[in-house]
Assembly symmetry: C2
Homo-oligomer: 305 residues x 2
Amino acid sequence: MRCSRCREQAVINLRAHRLALCEEHFVERFLEVVERAIRRYSLMRRSSRVLVAVSGGKDSLALWDALTELGYRADGLYIDLGIRRQDYSRISREKAERFAEQRGLELRVFSVQEEYGLSMPELRRGSREVCSVCGIVKRHVMNRVALEGGYHVLATGHNLDDEASVLLSNLLRWNTELAARQAPRVEAWHEKLRPKVKPLCLLTEKETATYALVRGIDYVSELECPFSAGATSIALKEALNRIEEHSPGTKLYFYTQFLKHRRIFRSEKPAKRECRSCGFPSAGELCSFCRLLLKSRLRGEKRDN
Amino acid sequence: MRCSRCREQAVINLRAHRLALCEEHFVERFLEVVERAIRRYSLMRRSSRVLVAVSGGKDSLALWDALTELGYRADGLYIDLGIRRQDYSRISREKAERFAEQRGLELRVFSVQEEYGLSMPELRRGSREVCSVCGIVKRHVMNRVALEGGYHVLATGHNLDDEASVLLSNLLRWNTELAARQAPRVEAWHEKLRPKVKPLCLLTEKETATYALVRGIDYVSELECPFSAGATSIALKEALNRIEEHSPGTKLYFYTQFLKHRRIFRSEKPAKRECRSCGFPSAGELCSFCRLLLKSRLRGEKRDN
């Protein structure tokens, strides 16, 4: 396979675009697409101080790398969830730290265990949907660090596969509220929040993985997360991959056309209440993170007595 | 596995409903669900003269059987497309004829070759999307026979898998026009048309296959259609099956909730024009069927000269 641009040896075949690319032209195009998403969806400004949520996986490190290459001022945030199984948290933290070190970038490390006295395995106990507990914790910490660190924008490494599978999930359940809010840029609806942006939303998982490989990024595979096995999101991604294989380009069309039709889904503006415990915006008296914390602590006390 | 109702040997395990059923209770429930769809979506009246489009496959024969069992006045229509490969049309026609004979039901047979001088393989030549050509031909013939035979309603054997995969296809392509019109009952928007109804829309392919088996119906497998291999609809069904396997009940929820949200998709009322050639309603001067016929004839003449 030869590069469609220079006839050198290609490293990737993008069937959706009928394009094969060599290392050099692939990286060039990858950065172009990131920049295109940033401009098309007004994700950030050149002068924005960006906080990139970094898991140690390929997507978030590829994002941090690409934003830096494109000249954005991006710091990293690693949230240490204290997952000891398979040494998951320690290994992924090291990947993030090494990446930052090698490139002279600033990485903030936030340890959930140190800050709240509870690790992810303790927080998730008794909950069936592990991934959603993890989401609550990460969201809370991201909001807190972004606010305290004076960042303008929070960036996450969600790629096209992530976005398309979440969209599919929202449509399969007809969760029109969530569909209405799904976007490459989610505006802050409270002064304590920062906009959340997804600059990789037009790039597939295959593309971010190839970018990480070509750029020599050493990452931990997200699929290795010892808690995510059997997650619904994986079944949805497999299903979409089956369709993509048959009709290349479906994922990209599905997602970008959705963004054009998104206004048919209506969403209520969330109430501007604040959590009685942490002060961050909340739907109820306590935000979902503080409720989680409270439940986990109560369970811990019961066990100790 | 035991029947959840009587503890006899079960013939099917309906994971979406957490229900295992024996032959007797499965047939009872199947008929109940057909009747429920008929009532919930106002598909037809007790007195309606129904024309069932019968392909010789499990779904349409199961439908014809169920409607007859439930006491509806249903005749069958077999459209002979003249597919000689694998003797497809002859075999499926015989299955339909034998079914009608055994039950003393009236079957109308319409031969596309005899009526129009062209068979399906000739009509589809030069077209990439075989299944869509087949759809145009069948729709035209069904409308014509229903009108000429004085039927009130046209019934097709589309099951839940068909409906869910078409819906998924419409959403993946954001074809909101088609989504707006997808329903268990499609109203006639012209005096020459009859409402089209889908009484099996709440039952999966697995259920209709089991019903056909239990009821001793001898059918031809649709997957044997020598032209449908590699069709997009098959990839979509496989994808949905992957999701259903992970989360039983997804297909049914996806489809029935869509029907509740359907009004968010807007559709233009089709223009009330009539085809210059056949007189049936049409978007343009010639309807898609007559355009197909004309193209095929022109190709035939070119070849002959």
